[in-house]
Structure formats: structure tokens, C-alpha cells
Symmetry: C2
Subunit: 225 residues, 2 copies
């Protein structure tokens, strides 16, 4: 199948692309620069596409960050919170309607290219804070996209979300099996030289490797430094 | 209510904005430059926002046109077809997933701004060719957006689509009642000095004014010229 895969460059989406590659699918990798605080992840997405010899499409929506301001991920005036995802403070890392925006653009691309499916790496650990990572959201969005592209999308088209009931620990274990080059993935919401080790996504990353019993090659500023 | 209204600058969306204004709603007008063949419509959207003293947000996605190439509306190598919407030839004017892309960005904006609703001018005449103008699509997208923004969108949030069961003739009649300045709306898919009078949207525009018994002030190249 030809799959249009949304890859941010984090460990989940890079593992997804490697997984789909191992399953024998042809991919087009789509990344979106929506005015994130930093572009480290995007470079990792580009390297992933190169590794898998898949076309990489970077769509630049630099104004989107300002438009959706108020999120710590796009607005430099909002501090990145430390701590665990399952906390109220992580609300400030929500970019309103982000996955609908990313997927609607990826869907347009998929239909234009005659691809068979979209794929996204949303997983069970995201559900608590991010409503647009929950199964109900993807179920409903798939219905909407199929309605909105009737007669244009390929017969049998669907949104693949193979990690939706997996934890990040499961993803770390799967990635290790697949030989994902973890040093070529970026998680940290801050974009410093090293992963900070304390923001929500760094905490999750560390826990996932630890709980999966996978060696974590990441240099964390606050842990190793 | 504070409504985020998607306005292209055509007669339908400008009438929608004037209608919502007359109903007493506060609006933020959102337009998207997705690499259309021309920007005449966008200038009309800007003028509409100025007239209604509403903030105007133009989101530029210039790469989107190339990404979704193959549509006569964004790809200069595809000729704009002449004729009526209810024809197979109009398939080339479909921009894949366009309304999902526009609405998902508008939805992010609405949630970020704490608005009460989104509004779009899709109407019954669009249903035949454009699957993303059909009631079933908006119904499904609304469900997805409410799921994806649970706890972040304002209580009771919805996608307003007051024209969904109206014809373009109904819209022309309503616009005439509201005093819409038709000369400050642009329909033509071609972006020449005058409306061409023969492309799908020009044909619809002319018919709507005629059938509503509304004086059509538009200068058409092929009719008046």
C-alpha cells in the first residue's frame, strides 16, 4: 500500500514510519512546521524519510503558531511546563485542533496522490491531556474525511492508527525490535542542545525506555549533565 | 455570539458574513490563501471584514496548491472548465479535502480565541460536485471537532452552516435584502479583469441573480464585453 505518514520526528512517529516500512508499505512522509518553538524534530523527520527512501513533504504554516497562540509549544511567552503528561499543567502544551489540521492537510495530499491510507502515531499515553489523540476523535475524523472525499479517495481508504491502544513503553519495545535509531529522534519541547529531561515529553520518553527495558541513548541535560 | 467565519470573498461567503452581522454576531473573518490561481477573492474578503469592522486573518499556505496539484483551482497547468456545476467536467475544480483544511484551521483559531461557533457558507448547489460541501460531511466534521477539542472548545460550540439547504438563488435573494455590495464579491475561477461569465462559478452566479430577480451588477467579459 501507499501510505501518507505524518511524522513529527519524535520517537513515536519515527517508530511508526519504520514499522510501516518493515511491513512493506510504500510511504510519503509529511511533516508540518506550524511555528513550533524549534525545528529539531523536523530535521529528524527529514532524516527518517531519507533513511526509508520515501519522499518527504514539509509544509510550512509559520503563521499558524501565532494564530493558535497561548500554547507553550508555539508561543515563546508561555513557559514549557515540567512534569508528567497526566497533569493539569500539561494543558498549556495543547495546540488547539492540531491533529485535525495536520491530518486534513495530509488527507488532501493522500487524495491528490492516490494513496491508500493515512497513518498517524497517536498512542494511548496521549489520551489523558490531548483530546485530539483519543480513539473517538480519529473514528469521527475518518468518517468525516471519507464523506468529504467521496468519489475522490481510493476505495477502502482509511486512517491507520496502529499505536492507538499501545503505550509509549510498547512503542519503545517495538522500536527496539525494529532497530529504530533513537539518537535520530527528538522529543523535548524545549529545543536546546540536549533533551532537557524534565518537560512532559522528556519525562515520558525516559519512562518509556526504562519501562521497556530498552537502553536509552539520549543525552539529557538534567540527568547526564 | 463570537463567530469565526470562513470567507473566500465570493458572493456566498460575503452574504454569510453580512447575514451574521445583521443577526448581531461579533465576527472574526478567516481567509486562506491556499495557492489559488488568483487573489481577487481574498481582497474582497478583506474589504468585507473592513466593512463589518471585524478582524481579518489571512492564513497563507502557498505550498498547499502545489501539494494538492491536479485541481484547476490551484494548478495553472489544468485548464478551468466552462459549463455548469452539475457536470462531470467540474471534477477538475475539486481541491482535495479543501473544506476540512479550511475548517480545521478556522476551528483551531476559534478555540484559541474562545469563540462560540464557526460558520461556513456551503449551500445546496455545491453538493453535486463537491463532497466536502454536503450536509453529511459537516455533520461528521462537527462531531470530530467536538471530540478533538473536548474541554477546550466553548460549551455548546458548533459549526454554523445556515445556507446548507439553501440554493444560490436563495442566497442572492437574501443578499439583496441585506444590501450586500455585489461589486465587492468575486466568483470567477479565472482571475482576469472581468468575470469570464462562462466558468462553473460564473454560470452559477449569473443564474442565481437571474432566478432571484436581482439586478446583477457584474461585468462579464463574454456577456457584456
Amino acid at each position: 500500500m501507499h501510505v501518507v505518514t505524518v511524522v513529527s520526528g519524535g520517537m513515536d512517529s519515527v517508530t511508526l514510519a519504520e514499522f510501516l516500512h518493515a511491513e512493506g508499505h510504500q510511504q510519503t512522509i509529511v511533516s508540518v512546521d506550524y511555528g513550533q518553538r524549534h525545528r529539531k524534530e523536523l530535521r529528524m523527520a527529514e532524516l527518517c524519510a531519507e533513511r526509508l527512501i520515501a519522499p518527504w513533504i514539509l509544509l510550512e504554516l509559520p503563521q499558524l503558531g501565532a494564530l493558535l497562540s497561548g500554547s507553550a509549544l508555539t508561543d515563546p511567552s508561555v513557559p514549557v511546563p515540567d512534569g508528567h503528561y497526566a497533569e493539569e499543567s500539561m494543558r498549556s502544551t495543547v495546540v488547539p485542533n492540531r491533529n485535525a489540521i495536520l491530518l486534513s492537510i495530509a488527507m488532501g495530499t493522500a487524495v491528490a496522490k492516490g494513496a491508500d491510507a493515512l497513518a498517524i502515531a497517536a498512542h494511548a499515553g496521549d489520551h489523558f491531556v490531548y483530546p485530539d489523540c483519543r480513539p473517538e476523535f480519529f473514528d469521527a475524523l475518518e468518517v468525516a474525511f471519507l464523506e468529504g472525499n467521496q468519489g475522490f479517495a481510493v476505495e477502502g481508504f482509511g486512517i491507520m492508527r496502529p499505536f492507538i491502544h499501545k503505550t509509549k513503553t510498547d512503542i519503545a519495545a517495538l522500536g527496539a525490535q525494529l532497530g529504530v535509531p533513537w539518537d535520530l529522534t527528538w522529543s523535548c519541547y524545549r529545543g536546546d542542545v540536549y533533551h532537557c529531561g524534565t518537560c512532559g515529553t522528556c519525562v515520558e520518553r525516559r519512562e518509556a525506555f526504562h519501562d521497556a527495558g530498552v537502553d536509552d541513548p539520549t543525552a539529557y541535560a538534567t540527568i547526564n549533565g
